[in-house]
Symmetry: C2
Subunit: 306 residues, 2 copies
């Protein structure tokens, strides 16, 4: 006999909604994904989207908890879950959860808060990453160092156990996308971007970005100039642009890097690029599975709340 | 009796085409503008666009020279005018001019070259600015220093007399536009961007950008975090973003700045912003009229060719 879900863990991001049924022993009994991310929903759409993603599943009880992390708790989301202030102890995450209303009590949702940093000049916010970080603190007991979370908005986090002391955000992924799509650089990135020269371009870009992070505005134009003067091909240019941005990001965070291995949490292919770039900066890193981190984090948040 | 044009000076940029009829004494006898910039034209459209912009004007002779600078000489333009290599003596500009074909010989166009820099790691190109710089060298005899040319792609040029020793390009203006329009920052810049707090935001952004040019990817996200956490309004955010970018640009070029006044050539409102930002960096600057610079440059190029 299959065991039934005792509660539901949900990662509700901008582009997707993922739900896992968890049984009494902590095992996953079902796993569902929906494209109904926060970016596609109006406030009133959330209850139906949540019911829909677990439709047809049997639960252990007639009413189950649903613990949610991510952008569903943003001001533009379902209901705002106020930020925890950094420095922040992530074990307290569930204390800050908010309960949105549902049409019936079959599902009892609670949305975890994000974390903010109000230091003047270093104001910052995260939503979703805090849960992965809580998960990381369970996956790597006694961790003390910096965590890098590559993505549209990459996070750099100084984490000690389950405590965030400070963090930063780099708009690296988003900048790559808007430059590739909307800037003059699109003329140099028009063609097969995954050709054989992409890696060589990436490494060249990383080295330049690492060495001159204070000249990013200038280096970016070099992508265009390089394709005009040296006949660089689109695959090389795409790798170079990506390398420049990631290299500049790492170069701007050199003082965050110590001797210890940097956990990388994010999409696997992107994390592999960061690992490659970090090694060119002399830093060790290792990939941590992002799904495992968020699931472990949701479980830990529920545990600490109990 | 009005004197007639002996030749025509043309600035043919990406978005506009401007033509001035010049008489034997160097005076302007007519001035015309057309929206037919290089960005809107196919190769075959150029002869008609040029004829059209001077249609109805009388010339001193049945056939006149037309000296053109700008993007009409780009690879995607009318006909490519190969770059002069920096270090470059701009007095030789006209030697590198190319002659595109016209259906009849009433107009005899010649397009001036741009300037490129092939230094590995600092590859760069300019097209149009070189003519303004030649003009500047005539307007400020014995100039020796750095020139800043704010714009979509700002140029920083080390100029001594009419000699460019090196130059750099910063994608500042274009980055402002793509971030304002296409990135997550658009949510913070949604409203009246010209409100009363824009200047305060600009100054704050300049100071932060000047101080931390190596953290631009991080500072950019601060625009969003600031509007979420400190309820910054769109006018403040727009000023702050603009200040961050210009401050970072200047901060990344501190080693270019000396004691002497920096000439600023570009759109007046933008140059005023750079003047304000440069003064916060402790540098003196002054505006040079961009139209006067390009016209003086076209005249000088013709003179040196003669």
């Amino acid at each position: 006999m299959t065991s039934k879900a005792e509660w539901i863990a949900v990662d509700w991001g901008t582009s997707n909604l993922r739900a896992w049924g968890i049984d009494a022993s902590g095992e996953i009994v079902f796993s569902r994904t929906s494209p109904k991310g926060m970016g596609k929903l109006d406030r009133d759409d959330y209850p139906a989207a949540l019911s829909e993603v677990v439709a047809g599943e049997d639960f252990a009880t007639s009413s189950v908890d649903v613990l949610i992390c991510g952008m569903a708790g943003a001001r533009q989301g379902w209901i705002e879950a106020p930020y925890l202030d950094a420095p922040a102890n992530l074990q307290a995450l569930a204390n800050g959860a908010v309960q949105p209303k549902m049409p019936n009590d079959r599902l009892r949702p609670a949305i975890l808060p994000g974390v903010c940093q109000k230091t003047p000049g270093n104001e910052n916010v995260m939503r979703g990453e805090e849960t992965q970080l809580l998960g990381l603190s369970a996956l790597i007991p006694n961790f003390d160092g910096v965590v890098c979370m590559p993505g549209t908005h990459s996070k750099w986090v100084a984490l000690s156990g389950a405590r965030i002391s400070r963090f930063a955000t780099a708009m690296t992924g988003e900048l790559y996308e808007v430059l590739r799509t909307h800037s003059v650089l699109r003329h140099s990135l028009n063609g097969d971007l995954d050709g054989p020269d992409r890696d060589a371009g990436f490494d060249a870009g990383v080295d330049v970005g690492l060495g001159r992070p204070d000249d990013l505005l200038g280096l970016l134009f070099g992508v265009r100039a390089g394709s005009l003067l040296s006949n660089r091909q689109p695959d090389w240019c795409a790798g170079y642009l990506s390398g420049l941005l990631i290299g500049s990001e790492i170069g701007g965070h050199r003082d965050w890097l110590g001797e210890s291995e940097v956990p990388l949490i994010g999409a696997t292919a992107l994390c592999e690029l960061y690992k490659r770039a970090l090694s060119r900066a002399g830093a060790k890193s290792r990939l941590v599975d992002a799904t495992e981190a968020v699931l472990t984090g949701l479980k830990a948040a529920r545990q600490f709340a109990a």
